[in-house]
């Protein structure tokens, strides 16, 4: 009999890391202030993360990072999102830090955010821009991709907020600063969108998992008609549907993360894998946000309740790095060009051509 270890490889994060993160965010959740409508960077939490080497988890050790992979990074993003922690882990580490390394630019460890300015040098919805010490810009200029690390005092910042109440600013660059950026390979430019989309997926899944817990706690405690509402079959089915959609989103996201980690993002199936994650996560978000607010009743719509600290970011993030419709269209294009005979190959390998490795 074949040894199952030769057939399937586990893709779970480092359990010690998960234990540290679970404790850290449980502590954060227990001690934070009551929810607010606007959400600002928590510098105290950021400092704690930095002290633990978690703000540069995926940075190479030679560049001052912790040398972590995407499986661990996705776990960190998910658990932080489950705690609704207002810290720019995705922007600073897996996106900004990665771009700086890819461009061979120094990283002084100051807080970074990241964006893709348009040809005129303007970037919209740049999360945490006002809090950053510099902004990592990925700029497409005359068929070349450039990466520039521009100090915050050299950009114009118009303060705005996203659906989650987080800083989501408009940033205007001086074109000279962008033109001075380092030219990087096209693959970097293309990968950025995928990395952003997968980081957002990991965050949304983490938040949805916390929503399931919040809903479960509520339906066990809340009594109506003389019993906990979770005893009603209608409520059980509602919660079951939320949990199922969340589990599907988790499976899709983990599969994409595993593929990214196994190939260091070089697998040509990454576009499909990330699209599957983004699509499943985005559609799950509709069910989970709607169903959780229904289960929680009116109390779940109040400012003081935890629920909106999760559901608002879920909806804000599912539309970043491509709308749900964009990604479904991308998958449609991949599926229809694969056609009848190659659709299954596309699903199992992420590309329509047969390959001899999964």
């Amino acid at each position: 009999m074949a040894d199952p270890r030769d057939l399937a490889a586990p893709t779970t994060p480092d359990p010690d890391l998960v234990a540290v993160l679970t404790d850290l965010f449980a502590d954060y959740r227990a001690t934070r202030a009551t929810p607010t409508a606007v959400v600002d960077l928590d510098r105290g939490l950021w400092q704690r993360l930095e002290d633990l080497g978690l703000t540069r988890l995926t940075g190479s050790e030679s560049a001052g990072g912790s040398g972590g992979g995407w499986v661990d990074a996705a776990a960190l993003l998910g658990l932080a999102a489950a705690a609704a922690a207002p810290v720019p882990l995705a922007e600073h580490d897996v996106l900004g830090g990665w771009l700086l390394e890819a461009a061979g630019l120094p990283n002084d460890g100051g807080l970074r955010t990241v964006c893709r300015p348009d040809p005129s040098g303007v970037a919209l919805n740049v999360t945490w821009a006002r809090d950053a010490s510099s902004v990592v810009a990925l700029w497409e200029d005359r068929d070349q991709w450039r990466v520039a690390d521009v100090p915050i005092d050299r950009v114009g910042v118009e303060e705005r907020r996203n659906l989650a109440g987080e800083p989501s600013d408009t940033v205007e660059f001086d074109l000279d600063d962008l033109e001075a950026g380092i030219v990087v390979d096209h693959a970097i430019g293309e990968q950025f969108h995928l990395r952003g989309a997968l980081a957002r997926s990991a965050q949304v899944v983490g938040a949805m998992e916390r929503v399931v817990d919040v809903v479960l706690a509520h339906v066990r405690e809340r009594e109506q008609f003389g019993r906990p509402i979770g005893r009603f079959q209608a409520v059980q089915h509602l919660v079951s549907d939320i949990a199922c959609e969340t589990a599907l989103a988790r499976a899709a996201t983990d599969a994409a993360v595993a593929r990214a980690a196994a190939s260091d993002w070089t697998d040509p199936g990454m576009l499909f894998a990330v699209g599957v994650a983004k699509s499943c996560v985005g559609h799950a978000a509709s069910v989970v946000v709607r169903g959780s607010h229904q289960a929680l009743g009116a109390i779940g719509t109040t400012l003081e309740h935890e629920l909106h600290t999760l559901t608002r970011p879920i909806l804000a993030r599912r539309s970043e790095y491509g709308s749900l419709q964009d990604w479904d269209e991308t998958l449609t294009a991949l599926a229809s060009s694969a056609g009848h005979d190659r659709l299954w190959t596309l699903i199992t390998t992420g590309r329509a051509k047969t390959q001899h490795a999964p």
């Binding site: 599969a255 599957v276 559609h283 419709q325 479904d328 056609g339 199992t348």
Partner: protein, 381 residues
């Protein structure tokens, strides 16, 4: 949140090689016209020759040890073979029940003599089994079965009626769940036993139940005092309930709960590429769900291979998968206008899928029952 579904696992090259080997064989078979790809083939397409050919190639009895004529391989290897057979719409109904549940149940509960009598034939694709659980008054509430097993000299006499027995008119034998002791309302799951029934035995009457499209897949099997010798009791008398429920995770989490309409999805993808269907993002959405369920179903198989409990996870796969495979039928239907020149292949697949769809979320435990199973897994019950 407590994980409902085990963490994912990555398919390694040894498994992929088997996958590609099966895929290449099936492509040849389709090209040679050995079968016409269809939907829901694990219920609706019987082909004993094809089944025997799979047996010759070592793709049946995969988890049955070699000493009983099987392949002695893993659930993961069976998983990829099963997926490849289903996505290509191959005629697999003849061996489906035997391969999925009869073989594993015999291995776990059968006597040495029973294993030797049935497992080699199952592994060659020559012995075909059905399963007799539901009754006219027992659907989701399986513990209410009324088929009686009465003790007689040297065995048992079975009297009662089983329904929705797929393929009984073609099968050699089936497992019947019957009440071997009077119902004790305080312990409804006690007093049930499983019996191996020869479907050619005196007292067995098989009548067709015709499906709404006019096809004959289901049967009513009437047992009129059928004599079952003691050596055809499966497992322990009175332990029928725990025996039938112990294999549920395998029965509920497999790729057949996701891929019944895959041929229709593939045909729709082709039709969009050819411009015969409008390009629509719904295709991408359905493809994404199938892909995610492929990963989830594989994760459950990996857990089962490692002998972990996966009952709740299996229910999650089945609720999502059977809903999704039905939604594919409805989705393609919403893209097509009557009178629009499609092609015969797409039309045939679509009509069959629409007519089979109601069964997807009923068979093997309705989705309403399964949502309750999931709620229990979440600690709500």
């Amino acid at each position: 949140m407590a994980r409902l579904v085990p963490p994912g696992a990555r398919e390694l090259p040894a498994l992929t090689e088997l996958r590609l080997e099966v895929r290449a064989f099936l492509a040849e078979q389709v090209a040679a016209g050995a079968f016409v790809p269809h939907v829901d083939t694990w219920l609706t397409r019987w082909d004993r020759d094809f089944t025997r050919e799979l047996g010759r190639r070592g793709w049946l009895g995969m988890v049955i040890p070699q000493q009983y004529g099987g392949q002695g391989r893993t659930f993961l290897e069976r998983f990829v073979v099963t997926e490849e057979l289903l996505v290509v719409g191959a005629p697999v109904a003849a061996h489906w029940i035997a391969e999925r549940q009869i073989g594993p149940s015999l291995l776990r509960y059968g006597t040495e003599e029973q294993k030797e009598a049935y497992l080699p034939g199952i592994s060659r694709g020559e012995v075909v089994f059905g399963i007799g659980m539901s009754e006219p008054d027992s659907g989701s509430d399986l513990a209410s079965v009324r088929t009686r097993a009465e003790r007689v000299d040297g065995g048992w006499r079975l009297t009662g009626t089983k329904v929705w027995t797929s393929g009984a008119h073609e099968a050699d034998a089936f497992f019947a769940l019957a009440r071997s002791a009077p119902l004790d309302p305080a312990h409804r799951h006690a007093g049930l036993s499983q019996f191996i029934v020869d479907l050619r035995a005196p007292g067995v009457t098989i009548r067709p139940i015709i499906s709404m499209g006019g096809d004959h897949h289901f049967n009513e099997v009437h047992l009129d005092g059928v004599l079952i010798p003691d050596d055809r009791v499966l497992g322990e008398v009175g332990e029928g309930w725990s025996q039938v429920t112990s294999e549920l995770a395998h029965e509920r989490s497999g790729p057949e709960r996701v891929l019944s309409t895959f041929q229709l999805l593939a045909a729709a993808a082709q039709a969009m590429d050819d411009g015969r269907l409008p390009t629509d993002p719904g295709l991408g959405r359905h493809v994404a769900r199938v892909a995610a369920l492929h990963h989830m179903s594989f994760a459950v198989s990996t857990a089962l291979e490692n002998a972990e409990d996966a009952d709740t996870a299996a229910a999650v796969v089945k609720v999502l998968g059977t809903t999704g495979e039905g939604d594919i039928a409805d989705y393609v239907d919403t893209l097509t206008a009557t009178g629009w020149a499609l092609d015969e292949e797409l039309d045939t697949l679509l009509h069959a899928a629409i007519l089979q769809r109601p069964g997807f979320t009923l068979r093997g435990g309705t989705n309403e029952i399964l949502r309750g199973v999931i709620a229990r897994g979440l600690g709500m019950r």
